[in-house]
Assembly symmetry: C3
Homo-oligomer: 290 residues x 3
């Protein structure tokens, strides 16, 4: 976290580690059902992360099933990592059904801005009112441009890796948040979450995490679990990043390489306690100009 | 196992650990080819479990290929975990081809009873004569109702997790077995398998197993490997549950969390020996009223 | 390696461990973007292997996206492991776009020769000019026959496992290479790579590797990363097999079973250094009659 406040946060601040600890407790207590319409690379790792944390994942993706299931689940994740026409239709149906049923949903615009088709799908999905959008800097810059929220230029991504730093994308994220009503997360060495006014900075994580595929997708799914138990969009987004980053940090410290980290991350999510989150969570407020 | 007989089973009893040990030996000797038409979450973990055990997995799922391949393979698994119209057509084709070629097949009705489309697919697949059906209590209760085998009510599932105990579903499982001709397995803390008359109870397993995604799917695939080398449907179903549960039990004892368990389970399947199965397998007969 | 030359290779020989070490350095320096159109079993493990090695993977597979993305990426892998009509169309589009953009691509003809549809897709893809074809002996024998390059008979595979040894397929591989212009790799206890004239033999590997699903697919993806930084097709193919086999060898030595090996392989790819490749790489020239 780049902006450690000199004094601790005020009691009850939703952007403090103690609030993230309370969100973890609520997930464990309620076992929210999370509907994942995610990419084909991370189905297994996402389901395992949600189970390890204490949520109940379900991967439902057929056009015949998604609308019915989105209304049953407590929250939905839509992840654009592996697209096709059929998946795009299912995503629209699922997001619209979640919205109609009053269920929060998370948009993870993987590699948006790189491929024309994907960009058009992402822009259309934004109209279905996601509660949270999470991406890396290149993705958030691209989505902000696509939505007309921001004309800011930044280095375009080539694949799923960002060429821009999270700080560069923060102004675009805030503009996108104001335009869409979603809380917007920019992942990076420090993660930022913003609702367009307030900004949370999250300092947990580990340098080896980008060498494991799909940990951003894992974060998006964990944010959905947080949204299922906490209606404050900005807080849920920030707490999801703390829980994911802290688990990655604990796992990374014990891992000689990315294979071990992927395994240890699941053990760490399972072993997280509210006390660990309160003590080691690095969450605070930052300024929009950060 | 809830029903430990006071005396050991009679020699040659197919529902005894020694029979499960013989099935393991036969799998290792014959390396049966198992055709998996399974869900997108567990393709990797299922293939790895079959390889670790000593079988030869193949994931073939296109409508253009499944019928041809089902007739080549030694057994087939059809798993409803991630459905679409195209997958439903492929499943019908594969099951019909397996039946026509005299190959046994296993139906894993993931989350049946929760979503309308999936329930209709499951009911249609039952008509293709699966040798074994394996599900949790909620799934078996739902499938029994769908098939008209049982009017018993039980708590419906919401996602892939059961809200009912295995014992509650045993009567419905027996009715479903009599109606369909399949051996029916109800997974739970104690697993039950029944052909409608006899009941096997399996006591192996570990409390951490439900925190790893798809271990029920793994059990279904391992049952298919057992069916490929043993024509007795009830015994094959029970042996598959013993082998899976025992590997999970050995893995769980050495695992701090679900990430480690998923890895250790594959090592344990690879390291299982007939002697370990005879000594630590917990398999016996139970009563239908259990 | 079955043919250890009595003297070391000449300086600068592209079929020597030092050349494979240089390829590894180039991958780490350039982080090539690898487009994977691969099967549903290995998406996660392939992406993680490429990330661990130092490349940047992207799994893009929809017909709406593949042509655009193949021209952006540095190399492409087309893997036939789980086929459908839609995937076949995407594969044709991707391969044609890669060819038109001058990008090298790798064909992994999983289980070709076993299923009619897959054989026809593989034959059509050969016409799009892959830079490298990698398969086991049964697959290469089948593909050589399909392409008319070889009339040699060998034991057909049943599933994804080969029933023939790599040595049996070497003549067919050379004929296929001459006919197609691709370098052809035959995986086995010793791996061979040939351009139809020269032959490389690779002795790295571990007996436990075939008990982990998709390590052949991993090798194909790593070959693509080598092709992205090295235009010599035969050298890139051989180097990819050395890097994969050496990582598997290091991982296997420390693994009690295939679950551990899958994890340790990623750590080993991450930990590989040019010095390790120079010292422990087993790469040399062999004769076509081998």
């Amino acid at each position: 976290m780049s902006d450690d406040p000199r004094a601790g946060p005020p009691p009850g601040d939703p952007l403090a580690p103690s609030a993230a600890a309370a969100t973890l407790e609520a997930i464990r207590a309620r076992t929210p059902l999370i509907h994942n319409l995610t990419n084909l690379v991370v189905t297994n790792s996402t389901a395992n992360a949600l189970l390890a944390l204490g949520a109940s994942p379900a991967m439902v993706e057929g056009v015949e099933e998604v609308a019915e299931f989105a209304a049953l689940a407590d929250a939905l994740v839509v992840n654009l990592g592996t697209m096709s026409g059929a998946r795009a239709r299912a995503m629209r149906l699922a997001a619209a059904a979640a919205r109609a049923a009053g269920r929060p949903w998370v948009l993870d615009p993987v590699a948006v801005g790189v491929i024309e088709f994907r960009s058009s799908v992402a822009a259309a999905l934004l109209d279905e009112g996601p509660a949270v959008v999470r991406g890396n800097a290149s993705e958030i810059l691209a989505l902000a441009r696509l939505s007309g929220a921001s004309a800011s230029e930044g280095p375009a991504g080539r694949g799923v890796d960002s060429r821009a730093g999270a700080e560069q994308a923060l102004a675009a994220a805030a503009a996108l948040a104001r335009r869409s009503g979603a809380a917007v997360v920019v992942s990076g060495a420090t993660d930022y979450a913003t609702d367009g006014q307030a900004v949370a900075a999250i300092g947990n994580g580990h340098p080896l995490m980008p060498r494991v595929t799909g940990l951003g997708c894992t974060a998006s799914a964990i944010i959905a679990a947080c949204l299922a138990v906490r209606s404050d969009r900005l807080a849920a987004a920030a707490h999801g990043m703390v829980l994911t980053g802290l688990a990655g940090e604990l796992a990374g410290a014990a891992s000689p390489g990315p294979g071990s980290l992927q395994v240890a991350l699941l053990d760490a999510l399972y072993g997280l306690t509210p006390a660990i989150v309160r003590e080691r969570g690095r969450l605070g407020r930052a300024a929009l100009s950060a």
